[in-house]
Amino acid sequence: MKFVLSMAARETRSSWRRLLFFFICIAVGVAAIVTLRSVIQNVRDVLGGEARSLIAADVLVSTNREWPDAVRATIDRAVAAAGATAQTETLETPTMVRPVDEKKPVAKMVELRALQPNFPLYGTVTMTDGTPYSHAMLQNHGAIVRPELLTALGVKVGDQISIGQAPFTIRGTLKNEPGRRIGGFSLGPRVLIDYADLPSTGLLGFGSRADRRLHIRAPEDRLDTLVLSLRHDLRDEFLNIRSYRSTEDQIGRDFERAENYLSLVGLIIVILGGIAVSSVTRVFILQKMRSIAVLKCVGARSRQIIAVYILQVLSLGLAGSLLGTAIARGVIAAIPYFLSTSTSPSVLAEAHYGVTSSAAAQGIGIGVLVSLLFSIVPLLDVRFIKPSLLLRDENTRRRRDWLGYLVLVTVSAALVGLTAWQASSLKIGLVVCAGFTGLAFVLMLAGRLLVQVVAPLANSRSFPLRHAVLHLSRPGNQTRVILLAVGLGAFFIVGVRSLQASLLGEFSIQTAADSPDMFLLDIQRGQADGMRAFLSDPAHYAADAQLIPVLRARVVGVAGQETNLEGADAVRRSGMAIGREFTLTYRDHIEANERVIDGVFWKGPSPEPEVSVERQIAERARIHVGDTIRFDILGRIVSPRVTSIRDVEWRESRNGGFVFVFRPGALDQAPQTFVAPIKGPAGLDERARFQHDLVEKFPNVSVIDFREILETLRDVMSKVTLAITVVGGLVLFSGALILIGAVAMTKFQRVYEAAVFKTLGANTRTIARMLLFEYGVLGSLAGLIGSLGAVVLTWGVSRYALEIPWRVFVGEHVGGVVLTAALVAIIGVFSSLDVLRNKPLATLRAE
């Protein structure tokens, strides 16, 4: 044992430089795992273990309509029966606010939340300055706002803002409150006001988009009964009823899934590191053959020598894992600085970032395990090294190595186990391992094929090119490993960048000269004429505006050739994507982005109801021309006949894309509001002034500024893209490390060859060109493999996951190939500087 320990220490002391790549490969992978797991756990911690505070209740009933009296009566009965101890109501609605101070001509969309005195039933409202929250702060037209609103409006605590028709005094700045939506797309900063002050704002006019929530506190043992009875009694109503338990389960599941998937990404990086470890170990043992033979000659047994190297591998794996944890700590410490530049507030900004002990333990465990698993097979070769090697070089013929096969099977099973552990699913573990093996196999085949394709270059007249190509298929070369690792890295990066370009292209809203860039919502019928006049006033810079009538409705039945559904419950349970609430309109023309693909679009109004249905919904719900759909439009049932199916180009739907369009006539007198897509003023100040003036005249009208939304979207996209690019970058970095390792490890062979070439008259430039060609060809092949893989990846993800049109971004792919080739060539040549520098005589003598 003493021999094993002291020998391992001596070996590590003398060969740590050669094995530096070993632990950097492990460190990168472990850093990825620890960072990803810790971040998810940190974010999860923000939401708290207390799921009740997530919904600020035991049971939450919510609706986006006014509470019908009958519904409230049913709820009250059930709540009383369940022995509820408290309840409180909140209301959320997006609206515009502006400073009361006329000198500040700005307006901003916010998410308004009105609270009753006993809110919250669970959790606490926290203020940025640490002062305790009390409902008294909101009473008598007080408001608590997010700090970013102060900046946006140029106001401070104590100033007044107009919400709807009423002025409110800002009494404090909000840090966090229970019961807000998590991860939802935010239209603007949060503003809290007193529920009692809502009527004075005049915001709750017809058709306003308000989310009403009833928070209930009830005894623990009656919760399930209460939820079930409410769901049963109110099954035909548009209500969402859930308990904190289901929320907890859902959030728990979402986070667990996210954590496991991200950890898998980390594991893939570690496995790439493992491939490098395997390759490094193999070459290391090759280089150590004579020393091993000497040890055997002086009495060491194979298992003692294997133990020495295993101990060395474990200590390097541990050192790499600790380094990885330290890197993760650095990366995580940098996150708050990165997030502070963000314009949109999010749950991410509120987390306290740090490496969690469970993530660190898992990372270190995986680092050490992967080091061991990937090095044990090459280490077994120690058994075949004969001490007679010291007397003469000979190739010993290997017998069938059953122990080797057994270890290989065990290692494979352990890897599947490791992946399954990280993904928390044996199935995923098997699928990922099979996928990885399949991908590696395809990359290997592609590599072999491509090497064959370039093989004719071995007859080239250029000496460096000829030898570069020959080197690709020399015995003991690292071509396959490099192609696999670098190809995989290129595949990830090019794939992700193509997807990003594809998504951004899909989201981008062209702000061409004449296309609308603002959307006015909730224009009441009585305001329509006034709004038209306001918009056509040249003083407001607006061009002609079209006011589009909108009604909110839901499908409560279909009588058709294929689909027959009776009642809202049947529609909801059919799973045909028509169970949600729809916004519909009526008009007598089709828009430029629409095309009738079946039936005939009407001309002029008709008292008989007719509807035109969008193609995708029609296909999913199997609705055809001639069918009848029953709509519930605010309690009134309308049953139009389907007279046409339209194809809608949603990307171009700047005038509002509608799934259901009615023929004018039937809905003209129904309760409705208007929306208006308009082209707002060009300058930032003018846009602010325009919104301010509009909100001042029509306080209930909301303005969605596409430019702002686009900015927010870009911000989110750039963060997601950055995150994915970082992961892809890590994969490529691992690939580069494997490359450097492979080059360094095969250097002894190259140094000798270069010495022979030099003796035969080749100068340093020729040898440099030879290396440049060799790595250039290798890099091009790896880039090509990655790029082709990325084309397949983007096709699959676009077509099946994102459901967006598939486009090939030639620039990304060609750029990927060129950059990979350049990177590999540069790293290859720089790692081989010794080869160029060494004097031939010294090298040849040493041999």
Binding site: R10, V294, L295, C297, V298, G299, P387, L390, L391
Partner: protein, 261 residues
């Protein structure tokens, strides 16, 4: 005692079998200093490798102190080498990542011997390298490296030292120094030394000589083991004079190379 019975070695060269050692039987008595001489390719090193158990014979058996080492598995063989055989190579074969001291300590650590430090330092002193203990092989001259290799071979105080052209890679001064060390070891410790060399002058320093050519022993000056009594060995050791060649041209009756091969 070392005994080889009908030992041969055949390797495959390309697809053809090539006999590098024809069947031979010899006995080397304990405490003997034997030189195996012959031109390159005559099978000297192969014979030495077979005695050390570094290589397995194609036929026959090799006995070290009556133990047939051809029947031992790799691990038992390694242990036997550690205990009974010290080996010195032409190209030193020190472990480059270990210092001179550590190279000497390794066999003792493997054997689990106590007091490694004192013994390793004593050996360094014996080969005159006290001041070079913490130097790596790359920092030592060829002669110094070979002295470290010799000290390593003696680490576990083995009864047998096998040396394969130990001076072949050294200048004449260093070569003489190594030979003196070997003679001292033989005389002071009574160690059996088997030396492979193609230098007739060096071979003359040995008690006996085996001349090899084309894989056969063509001359053997070894006397039968039984002919040398323990007393004689003791006297010779006491005298400190191992160099009593038995005379060139003497063909020993134990030379039993198979005349058919």
């Amino acid at each position: 005692m070392i005994e080889l019975r009908e030992v041969s070695k055949t390797v495959t060269s390309g697809s053809e079998p090539l006999t590098i050692l024809h069947p031979l039987s010899i006995q080397i008595p304990r405490g003997e200093f034997v030189a195996i001489v012959g031109p390159s390719g005559s099978g000297k090193s192969t014979l030495l490798g077979l005695i050390a158990g570094l290589d397995a014979p194609s036929s026959g058996s090799v006995l070290i102190d009556t133990v047939d080492i051809t029947r031992l598995d790799e691990d038992t063989l390694a242990r036997l080498r550690g205990e009974k055989i010290g080996f010195v190579f032409q190209f030193f074969h020190l472990i480059p990542s270990l210092t001179a001291y550590e190279n000497i300590a390794v066999p003792m650590e493997i054997a689990g011997i106590a007091d490694v430090r004192a013994r390793a330092n004593g050996l360094l002193e014996e080969v005159g390298l006290t001041g070079r203990a913490h130097h790596y092989p790359s920092q030592l001259s060829g002669g110094e490296q070979q002295r470290v290799a010799l000290a390593r071979a003696l680490a576990n105080n083995p009864p047998i030292v096998l040396a394969d052209e130990p001076t072949g890679n050294l200048d004449s001064a260093n070569g003489r120094h190594i030979m003196e060390l070997l003679r001292n070891i033989h005389s002071r410790r009574g160690t059996t030394v088997v030396l492979v060399t193609h230098d007739a002058e060096l071979a003359a320093m040995a008690d006996a000589r085996l001349l090899m050519r084309d894989g056969r022993v063509v001359e053997n000056t070894l006397r039968h083991a039984s002919a040398r009594t323990a007393d004689e060995v003791a006297v010779r050791r006491q005298r400190g004079d191992p160099s009593t060649p038995l005379g060139a041209g003497h063909v020993d009756p134990v030379l039993t190379s198979d005349p058919r091969s």
